[in-house]
């Protein structure tokens, strides 16, 4: 018999066990579930989603780069990339089939591809930037492996972009290039990488643990294409600059590359920036310079590798902003403006040069480039003579403190802020001594970048405003809307307008009469200054320090539009003076750029005699009629072809033709090519001789540089001797004074 007590105790124990299970057991269970779902839910869900979804990046199309007129300088075109989903491979047999097939199509190593197929991921890039031809082959292969071996979902083609530079090595230092991941590595591509690259889109798709999910989940966030850049660079001006800079570079055997920068003086816009020794932007990793390649090929092993990478970084280096140099006599413009502004000189000031000068008691004397001495000079004469002793005196008059202040005010102590990467800044003496001041007065001992120089001289040209140079005019989005617009940024008024006007007058005089006359362009009032500075090293081992030949000037002098610096680093040819090396190139470039910019010509009386006129149109007229008219217009007439009517003419209508020049009439367009003539060598000829040679060859000449004087001799010609051009073509000849020709001694 069961007792009442034992029965109720059993009931109580049942109750206790039940409550224990329900309260403790189920209670903690409910607590744990609440904790995981409500408090850790989001975190866990994120982890779950991360493993369930595949996130594919959709590349954004990189923006284009245009010149100021909308010509395309850099553009991205669609290519494809081959992507593997290694996690979808089932066995090594599949891996072998795919890696073997793909390695043949893509031309990559099978072994490394096989390794890639073993990765535990859904995204592994096999090859980037394949063109449509290869893409078709890959597509075929994908179909084939599905049909023959039932391998699916392992190879995929995704759209990608490739950068193309239609002008190859054109403006290479400015534009820069991109790497394999479409990221900017140099120049504007680097500087504006963020703007250009846009925002990549995402494609999120549902993934499965092992095999496909039965439902599709797909969410797409479109890529936002990159913005495009519109530059201040004008393709035409840039081409002109590059053409002549290259010529100058070759003729003067420049060892260390050369630079030309043209700036709009009123805005700071860079119209052209040429660095000679450019490289092909479509192939930036190949050394462009043949001499360098030859030198490197002699090396072996590690030395060779180092030399190669050094050569590449030198090639990519933008000399215009990254390298500093002693500005030499060009800096005398700055010194002169300080003196004028501070009134330490006036019309009555006189500077006596005896051929050398001892700026500091006890120190060595410093000689002038004219060792005979310039005698007693006015301030203007001192500039035109580029007289070093005179400038040492002027500098001493300004004083060390003021000199330093102005050096800074002209922006030499800081980067100009131009929108190019790797900008260097000028170097001044940490503690300037009297001797330092003396040599700094004529531009030695202080280092500046070419960009700083052209910016400072532009300030003199525009009435004293130091501007921030810029190279990107507008940033435009993919739909063509202007996102950002650059504008003139005035940093400060450095010197007064009066100082600038006075100095411009002297510099124009200098370009017409003085040391800078090789930089003169007929019809355009050029103001400028040559510079020849000593470098502190010797590259050709001739025992002499090397030089930097430069010319900086602006035009027209009375209302300056553009300022340009031309700078050759270590010319090893016959000449190294700025007046002989840099000035003619300056003149050639200005001679072509000024008409392009439609700057109205202002000829002197003398120039009028040799003035170019513009050709009329004779097209469509009968040959007889045209011939009569050409003669009536004062030109010599040559007819090419047997036809009755004029189909073409050279020079073309509305282009320049010298007075009394030759007009060639063609009766058919074929004749234009049929009647090509070889360009004669004009060098060393006088204007009269050159004219004779030209008309004999049915060519026209246009003159630049020093003309109007009987002793002008041809220094440079726009078309190289021996090249072939159509009859009637206008060839620009740059003249120099006979005293400068061959033996130039102007510093």
């Amino acid at each position: 018999m069961m007792s009442k007590g034992s029965k109720s105790r059993l009931m109580r124990r049942c109750m206790v066990i039940m409550l224990f299970i329900l309260l403790i057991g189920f209670g903690t269970t409910a607590f744990r579930l609440t904790q995981l779902t409500l408090f850790q839910g989001q975190e866990l869900q994120q982890l779950a989603v991360d493993q369930q979804l595949v996130d594919t990046t959709i590349n954004a199309r990189r923006g284009s780069i245009y010149d100021t007129n909308g010509k395309i300088l850099a553009q991205s075109a669609t290519v494809w990339k081959v992507v593997l989903s290694p996690a979808n491979f089932e066995n090594d047999k599949e891996r072998t089939i795919v890696s073997k097939g793909l390695s043949e199509i893509l031309g990559i190593d099978q072994e490394s591809l096989f390794e890639k197929t073993k990765e535990n991921t859904f995204y592994s890039v096999a090859k980037r930037q394949i063109e449509s031809e290869t893409r078709d082959k890959v597509l075929e292969f994908i179909e084939k492996i599905e049909k023959d071996y039932d391998i699916t979902g392992v190879v995929e083609l995704l759209e990608d972009y490739k950068r193309y530079y239609p002008y190859n090595d054109f403006a290479s230092s400015v534009i820069g290039f991109t790497g394999s991941d479409d990221q900017g590595l140099a120049g504007l591509e680097y500087q504006y990488n963020e703007e250009l690259s846009g925002t990549p889109g995402r494609l999120v798709t549902a993934k499965h643990g092992d095999i496909e999910m039965p439902f599709k989940y797909e969410q797409k966030v479109d890529a936002v294409d990159g913005n495009s850049l519109v530059l201040t660079i004008d393709e035409t001006i840039q081409h002109i600059m590059e053409k002549y800079l290259k010529q100058g570079n070759v003729e003067n055997k420049v060892h260390n590359r050369s630079v030309a920068i043209m700036m709009e003086v009123d805005t700071g816009a860079i119209l052209g920036l040429a660095v000679e020794g450019g490289y092909d932007l479509n192939d930036p990793f190949t050394i462009a310079d043949k001499t360098t390649i030859a030198e490197i090929s002699k090396l072996v092993g590690k030395e060779k590798e180092e030399a190669e990478s050094e050569a590449l970084s030198a090639q990519w280096r933008n000399k215009a902003v990254s390298d500093t140099y002693y500005p030499g006599s060009v800096f005398k413009i700055i010194t002169a403006s300080m003196a004028l502004e501070e009134n330490t000189v006036n019309d009555d000031s006189r500077f006596t040069c005896t051929g050398s000068y001892t700026p500091v008691q006890g120190a060595d004397s410093i000689s002038c480039h004219n060792t005979l001495g310039h005698g007693t000079q006015t301030f203007a004469q001192a500039i035109c003579n580029s007289c070093n002793p005179a400038f040492m005196m002027i500098g001493a008059g300004i004083g060390k403190e003021k000199f330093k202040e102005y050096f800074q005010a002209f922006g030499y102590n800081a980067p100009t802020g131009v929108d190019l990467p790797g900008e260097a800044t000028g170097i001044f003496f940490p503690n300037i001594s009297d001797l330092d001041l003396a040599i700094a007065s004529f531009g030695q001992g202080i280092s500046v970048t070419p960009m700083q120089m052209v910016t400072a001289i532009s300030a003199v040209a525009n009435g004293g405003e130091l501007l921030q140079p810029y190279i990107v005019k507008q940033i435009v989005d993919a739909d063509g809307n202007v996102v950002k617009s650059a504008d003139k940024t005035v940093k400060r008024q450095v010197v007064s307008k009066e100082t600038c006007e006075k100095l411009s007058e002297i510099l124009e005089m200098n370009a017409t009469e003085g040391s800078a006359k090789n930089g003169y362009v007929a019809g355009y009032r050029v103001a400028g200054k040559t510079g020849t500075s000593e470098k502190k090293y010797d590259v050709n081992g001739d025992g002499q320090d090397d030089y930097i030949a430069s010319f900086c000037g602006f035009a027209p002098a009375d209302d300056p539009k553009v300022c340009m610096i031309v700078y050759f680093d270590a010319p090893l040819g016959d000449n190294y003076y700025g007046s002989a090396v840099a000035a003619p190139v300056f003149a050639q470039i200005m001679g072509e750029v000024m008409p392009y910019l439609e700057v109205s010509t202002q000829y002197t009386d003398e120039e009028l005699k040799e003035m170019d006129t513009t050709a009329n149109s004779y097209l469509g007229l009968s040959v007889d009629e045209a011939e009569a008219q050409v003669k009536a217009d004062g030109y010599t007439c040559v007819v090419k072809g047997d036809g009755d009517t004029v189909a073409a003419q050279l020079p073309a209508a509305s282009t320049r033709i010298p007075q009394g020049g030759t007009v060639v009439l063609y009766t058919s367009l074929d004749e234009v090519t049929n009647s090509e003539v070889e360009v004669p060598d004009f060098s060393g000829l006088t204007l009269a001789e050159a004219n004779m040679v030209a008309s004999y060859n049915n060519l026209n000449i246009s003159v630049a540089g020093v003309t109007g004087t009987s002793d002008g001799l041809v220094l440079l010609q726009s078309e190289a001797a021996g090249s072939t051009v159509s009859a009637g073509t206008v060839i620009t000849l740059t003249f120099t004074t006979s005293s400068n020709y061959g033996n130039n001694n102007v510093m």
Binding site: I21, G25, T37, A206, H208, D210
Partner: protein, 429 residues
């Protein structure tokens, strides 16, 4: 088969003389007490509620059984099959080529199981007294037999009967509950002594544990330890025994752990509670299932992703139809759905204990309570496993986890509880 009324008849035949004889045989059956004697005291709640005594007709199928319990079993079974189907169809499709593979099999087993449950509910559970020793013997036989069946990755847990497999420990759990219920009832005067109360269950447990240790099946040891303890507590064991035995077991475990014999378990324990932490590759791979279970549970949030909308079942969570089915339940139905399921289980357990307390004899009480407690323990431990509070060692969720033999075992046990309720109710007539 002996049906309820014959049982009643038999009970009516009991007389004090026979009871005495039995007592002299050192056997005590306290359940053979005439109902009239203890009726009011045994079920005070029924009297307090003033419920009229049910008029039951023995020939009706549902007659006498506890309807709430039966309904809860059916509801849980239906919910379980639906959720198991939802969780399993991707793996069924890819693994077996048929989305309904697990549904069909589980459905068939469920139908068979429910039929068996009703049949069992008509069988007088008192037969189990006689069968308790044979069942215990069968349990040990199975535990031995597993070693002669092919192992899966070195683990011997299943006995292959061709069309279905049976997990040896399932039989053993049942055997221990039945035996200890009988022992507790039979020896109820002596079970407060160590010799009668503690020694027999301890011997059975140690033997079972040793066999399970070599299978190995550690979670089985844990469940059997808990079940044995609960049974001993129920029949009136002393707490101090547990302290002594617990200390001994702890010492054994420590020795095994120190000598490095606990290889498999230690490996499992290493990753325990750290499924989201990256320790090393091996550990990361080992906690893969638990981690994905946590992902699924976390993804569910309050409301869940919706029925059938689980993402983790798409071959992320391995074997979502088995032990981890509840993770998919949470992912699809959210915390709300999970709590609803928990409440259903809680109600079932509450009802099971009510049946236990209303049982006509001590054996019935102990048996119903033990079988009910087993469900509760499995539910709690299963959820602890899927939420990374216990090592992942293979504890299935009753009615939800796929598995024909364990489902049938479970439904047989439910049938026994129903039989106990029916007997109690019949006696009230």
């Amino acid at each position: 088969m002996d049906f309820i009324h014959s049982g009643i008849n038999r009970r009516k035949k009991h007389d004090p003389a026979r009871n005495r004889t039995r007592r002299s045989d050192m056997m005590s059956d306290d359940f053979a007490v005439p109902i009239q004697d203890i009726h009011g005291r045994r079920l005070p709640s029924a009297r307090e509620r003033g419920k009229p005594k049910k008029k039951l007709k023995a020939f009706r199928v549902g007659a006498g059984i506890d309807m709430p319990f039966m309904i809860l079993v059916i509801v849980l079974l239906v919910c379980g099959i639906i959720m198991m189907f939802s969780a399993s169809y991707p793996i069924a499709y890819y693994g077996e080529g048929n989305s309904y593979y697990y549904l069909i099999r589980q459905g068939i087993f469920a139908l068979i199981g429910v039929a068996i449950m009703f049949v069992v509910s008509y069988v007088n559970y008192e037969y189990l007294k006689k069968l308790s020793l044979p069942i215990l013997g069968l349990g040990f036989l199975f535990l031995f037999a597993v070693f002669f069946f092919p192992s899966s990755t070195g683990i011997h847990r299943w006995i292959d009967f061709g069309i279905f497999n049976i997990q040896a420990s399932e039989i053993m759990k049942f055997a221990i509950i039945v035996f200890l219920a009988h022992w507790g009832a039979f020896q109820h005067k002596r079970v407060n002594t160590f010799k009668y109360g503690a020694l027999p269950p301890l011997i059975i447990f140690v033997l079972t544990a040793v066999l399970l240790f070599f299978e190995p099946h550690y979670s089985g040891i844990v469940i059997i330890a808990i079940l044995t303890s609960l049974m001993v507590i129920l029949y009136g064991g002393k707490i101090k025994w547990f302290l002594i035995i617990g200390a001994l077991i702890a010492a054994v475990v420590v020795v095994l752990a120190v000598t490095g014999k606990l290889g498999y378990a230690m490996e499992r324990l290493d990753g325990w509670g750290k499924a989201l932490e990256y320790i090393d590759d091996a550990m990361w791979d080992q906690t893969f299932q638990t981690r994905n279970s946590l992902y699924a549970i976390g993804s569910g949030g309050l409301m869940g992703l919706g029925l059938g909308q689980s993402r983790q079942k798409y071959l992320y969570l391995p074997e979502p139809q088995n032990d981890f089915v509840f993770a998919i339940v949470v992912e699809e139905l959210g915390l709300i759905g999970a709590l609803v399921v928990l409440v259903l289980f809680a109600l079932l357990i509450w009802r099971g204990f009510v049946i236990a307390m209303r049982a006509k004899d001590r054996f019935g009480t102990l048996l119903a309570a033990g079988l009910t407690a087993q469900i509760g323990i499995q539910v709690v431990l299963n959820i602890f496993v899927i939420t990374d509070w216990l090592p992942n060692t293979g504890i299935s969720l009753p009615f939800f986890s796929y598995g024909g033999s364990s489902l049938i075992m479970m439904l047989i046990q439910m049938g026994i509880i129903l039989s106990i309720s029916r007997t109690a109710n019949m006696n009230k007539v």
